[in-house]
């Protein structure tokens, strides 16, 4: 009685209210985005109405730094009043105790804080902002004191792939519920700086093997990933909600001007939430159809795990090859079955 999966609407919408930011991180996908044509607050309320009528349960606010957006709390209050559960990703720099109180009162489900290294110096270098590590920890503390559920996002790069595990004891101090270890996205500045900061396929393999070991022994903090190429490792035991990337299957992304993309890292516009019928896009978009039904190419054709990995991260593949069906450039497999 548990039957084949297809959703009539996404489960999560990632939304950017504004691309304005107080940081200029070296891997940021959005520093070159348009800051001018943002939806008005009135239009954003319409967006909430659309998502609520479509029964989208989860809304995650990214950016840009959401705490800079002047109507953030009104926006979240409105979404919450419509039954949508909201979360947010922040660099934490502006998140003092008063803001933490406001977050609690507004009804955010959880707050994600970005920490990219257990070492203060490296985090500040990656985030291009002195003092940002201390501020991120202070944000976690303020949220903990206000009893707000927290998660931490770490973008894996050359700077942290050897000592990411040292973050765990730090997170324990603030009772962080979940650690997301994100693969390095080759979009925006991430693309420009990839030679310096992205890992080689062999390094990704080594990193994921160690990260899975850490996950196995860490019982009090959930360690999560967003990389389908993990299926290449026999020790990967998770059963993700969908096969391959989740973009366009479980989630969609809305930019600050209302444009809809499969995910924030893929500059392929499917339509606009204000001007177009999002339900039609979800159902009929040829791009989403491609993402949902990838055709194996190259080494994927003979790969024994293609049916689970579906060619890996489509945003990365598209950004680096200009195509959706090619093998994920992070994939370490040389050909044939799993090594």
């Amino acid at each position: 009685m548990n039957k084949s999966f297809f959703l009539n609407a996404p489960l999560t919408i990632n939304i950017t209210l504004s691309y304005r930011c107080n940081f200029n991180c070296i891997h940021c996908y959005s520093r070159e985005e348009d800051f001018k044509n943002e939806l008005t607050f009135k239009q954003l309320k319409t967006v909430i109405d659309i998502l609520a009528s479509w029964k989208v349960p989860f809304l995650n606010i990214g950016g840009g730094e959401p705490l800079i957006y002047p109507h953030l709390f009104e926006f979240v209050s409105y979404a919450t009043s419509k039954g949508i559960q909201c979360s947010m990703n922040t660099n934490g720099y502006l998140l003092d105790r008063e803001v933490a109180k406001k977050i609690k009162q507004t009804g955010f489900k959880s707050i994600g804080v970005s920490i990219d290294s257990p070492e203060e110096e490296k985090h500040d270098l990656f985030r291009n902002k002195k003092g940002s590590f201390k501020k991120a920890l202070a944000a976690l503390e303020n949220l903990y004191l206000e009893n707000v559920k927290t998660t931490v996002s770490m973008v894996i790069s050359k700077l942290n792939f050897n000592n990411f595990q040292d973050l765990i004891p730090i997170l324990r101090q603030y009772k962080v519920a979940q650690l997301f270890l994100h693969n390095y996205k080759c979009s925006g500045l991430g693309y420009k700086n990839m030679e310096q900061y992205d890992l080689t396929p062999e390094e990704w393999k080594d990193f994921y093997s160690r990260a899975l070991q850490l996950k196995k022994i860490t019982k009090d903090i959930i360690i999560s990933f967003d990389d389908p190429i993990l299926h290449l490792l026999p020790e990967y035991e998770d059963t993700p909600l969908v096969k391959g990337s989740t973009c366009g299957k479980l989630s969609l992304n809305i930019k600050s001007n209302g444009d809809i993309t499969p995910c924030g890292f893929m500059p392929v516009i499917l339509g606009n939430i204000i001007k177009d019928d999002i339900t039609k896009i979800w159902k009929d978009s040829p791009i989403l159809n491609i993402l949902r039904n990838p055709i194996p190419q190259g080494k994927c054709i003979s790969c024994g795990v293609f049916e689970n990995c579906l060619g890996g991260c489509k945003a990365r593949t598209y950004m680096l090859t200009g195509e959706f069906h090619k093998p994920d450039p992070h994939c370490w497999k040389k050909g044939g079955d799993i090594e």
Binding site: M1, K3, P57
Partner: protein, 105 residues
Amino acid sequence: MKLKIPDDIFERVEEENLKQAQECIEKGMFEEAENIGVLTLIKSGIMTQLNPMGKIIWDNLKTLNTIESIAQKVSKEFDINFEECYRDIECFIQDLIKKGFITYE
């Protein structure tokens, strides 16, 4: 033992799928209907979808809290053998208990 749906379960009826399944049932295409997910359940990163019969059992769980009472109602409603119905429902519920979507009171 009495059954309970935990408070933190998110559920969403997939309206379009439900409509499609109802059309299949009306045309007597029961196997096709069985393969359509009409109710999505989510709990802390775990998701499952139920077909039309799964949804009926799930909906009944909200007012009836034992396998026996649900089997009685469903077997009567659909005019099917009680024992067989009980076994199927028990199997379905055990699976949802394993996934954390149902607990005991």
